[in-house]
């Protein structure tokens, strides 16, 4: 059953944050809402949680109409970008909050909190205050707190947005494993396509309050339905009227059938991969990705003239 969103529209004054959106998240799956800032992804998540009321449309959670339901009765766990830690409570009390509100027996609360703290690897920090934790630890605490009440769905709003790159990568892997273990329907919002593709089984790409495409990461990368998706889920350049990925451009020193003349503007070494910025005859810029072995074979340097051949490209109807 999972989550079903039907024809939801949400406006803030003149601004349309969500424009007639429909989306269904299968039960037990892990879905990412991916989009640039202002695309409406956070608003959609908050509408699902009941923190915002849609102007029209319905939200169904586990097949049950939740549109009119108060957030506290929806059975959602919500994790905020800036943790929303209860600063005056210890880690233990933060995690126990939802259970205490539900007046669960003390023994049960103790057991459940201990389990969760172990799950998020915070058991040694139970008696600390949030201010004594690192960002990554605070976010894990927030996750344990949300999971404590056994939500039907788990919603995460840019959960790793405030963390540095290394901790982000660590927590991504960790979230994926956690989801495998807990199997609760999960939706998380991100503007980082790597994060979305790394963590989620399904990705919904959003733009201007609409959903552009929903699919598995590979599907989105290989078969994008619009130029926006093509450009958002990975690097792409427009060459001779069609969009092409940097690794689908072939460089050579000799002209061949269909190849375009280009000049090398810049060579960027990224380790095993090398990114080359080209300008093609009529001034169009393009990115090419080759390996460092290829680079030394071709003996390329800045200012060289080369020939570039798109192996595979996609054309979209202009929106």
């Amino acid at each position: 059953m999972g989550i079903t969103v039907r024809y939801v529209t949400k406006r803030f004054g003149d601004y349309t944050a969500l424009d007639d959106i429909s989306l269904s998240v299968p039960s037990g799956s892990l879905m990412a809402l991916l989009g640039p800032s202002g695309s409406g992804k956070s608003t959609l998540l908050r509408v699902i949680a009941g923190l915002e009321r849609p102007d029209s449309g319905d939200v169904l959670i586990s097949g049950e109409d939740a549109t009119e339901l108060d957030p506290r009765k929806r059975g959602v766990g919500f994790v905020f970008q800036h943790y929303a830690a209860f600063k005056h409570m210890t880690v233990w009390d933060n995690v126990a909050f939802g259970l205490k509100i539900r007046r669960r027996p003390k023994a049960e609360i103790r057991k459940r909190v201990a389990e969760l703290l172990e799950l998020v690897q915070l058991d040694p920090f139970a008696q600390r205050y949030p201010s004594q934790l690192s960002g990554g630890q605070r976010q894990r605490m927030a996750l344990a707190r949300a999971l404590a009440v056994e939500p039907r769905v788990l919603l995460l709003d840019e959960p790793f947005g405030a963390l540095d790159a290394r901790v982000r990568a660590e927590l991504r892997t960790w979230l994926r494993r956690l989801h495998e273990e807990v199997q609760v329907t999960t939706v998380f919002v991100t503007h980082d396509q790597h994060e979305a593709m790394d963590v989620a089984g399904h990705v919904a790409v959003m733009n201007h309050g609409r959903i552009e495409q929903v699919g598995a990461p590979r599907e989105l990368y290989e078969y994008p339905s619009s130029a926006f998706v093509m450009g958002f889920v990975g690097p792409a350049s427009k060459v001779a009227g069609a969009w092409v990925r940097p690794h689908d451009l072939e460089l050579s020193l000799e002209p061949s059938d269909g190849a375009l003349a280009a000049t090398i503007e810049r060579i960027v070494h990224l380790g095993f991969e090398v990114r080359i910025e080209l300008s093609i005859q009529d001034g169009e810029a393009a990115l090419v990705q080759i390996t460092c072995d290829d680079l030394s074979r071709l003996e390329l340097k800045r200012g060289d003239s080369v020939w570039v051949l798109p192996r595979r490209s996609r054309a979209f109807a202009e929106a």
């Binding site: 506290r72 209860f86 939802g98 949300a146 009440v149």
Partner: protein, 264 residues
């Protein structure tokens, strides 16, 4: 280095001349003729009554303004409404108005011919020259402190924690008592301390509305003034010392709270 020293000397010198000097003098003059004399001057029935009255008025004004202050801050920050700006400005009025003006306006409202005065008088309730008007005056002048302390903190903590509590199943009331109020506790404590200090020291407005009948409607500050006018120098200074000690203990309480807050 010399500039730093000059700045420090200036600041300390200024404080000594304006603040510490007069205070030391008050203590000196109070105990000039021995502790016994000072003690008996502040334990006369009118003196004791004056302190009691001050404490009573403070004990009513402070809780009233604390509850109002928190609710008002919530209204201003959390529930935007028409006229919010006006409310925000009106809250500061007691800071801007001279207490004497406050006293006079109460006088006009609750006097024999005032809007409310005649209504109360017809029902045999004495407002002016009695406790009710003194409480009203004190509540008025000490009103802004809790609001002003709580509003910025409420803004700063934002709504994330409250929303998190809601998704975890807490009702509005539970969220208020378990999340919002604890987050505001230092701001409220700070506001309470300031309100208390202001209430203890109130003179102008209360002086206008009380009628200043010694042993009946004279608060501690009015008692000091009364003793001074009657050339009872020891009495005036000894009562001042008691007031100063009350204020100092309030300040100490504030500092202790601050230190606790820093430690957290």
């Amino acid at each position: 280095m010399t500039r730093k020293l000059a700045l420090r000397t200036f600041a300390l010198g200024y404080l000594a001349a304006i603040l510490v000097g007069p205070l030391v003098l008050v203590f000196y003059r109070a105990f000039e003729h021995g502790f016994g004399e000072a003690w008996s001057a502040v334990t006369t029935p009118p003196a004791l009554h004056a302190f009691e009255l001050t404490l009573l008025i403070t004990a009513i004004a402070v809780p009233a303004n604390t509850i109002f202050g928190v609710l008002c801050a919530l209204a201003v920050v959390r529930h935007p409404f028409r006229g919010k700006g006006l409310l925000n400005a009106v809250v500061d009025l007691p800071m801007a108005l001279s207490p004497v003006v406050v006293g006079l306006s109460l006088f006009l409202l609750y006097g024999r011919t005032g809007w409310f005065g005649s209504w109360f008088l017809a029902r045999g309730i004495q407002i002016l020259f009695a406790l009710p008007s003194m409480i009203l005056a004190t509540v008025f002048v000490s009103l802004p402190f809790v609001v002003r302390e709580v509003v910025p903190v409420l803004r700063e903590i934002g709504t994330d924690q409250e929303q998190a509590a809601a998704t975890l199943g807490a009702s509005r009331l539970q969220t208020f008592f378990r999340i919002t109020l604890p987050a505001l506790r230092w701001a409220i404590a700070y506001g309470v301390v300031l309100t208390t200090a202001r209430s203890l020291g109130e003179y102008g407005a209360v002086s206008v509305v009380s009628g200043r009948v010694a042993g009946k409607t004279a608060t501690a500050t009015l008692f000091v003034e009364d003793r001074y006018q009657s050339f009872d120098i020891v009495g005036a200074y000894a009562a001042s010392v008691v007031l100063a000690l009350m204020a100092v203990s309030v300040l100490l309480a504030m500092n202790l709270l601050r230190r606790k807050e820093d430690a957290l």
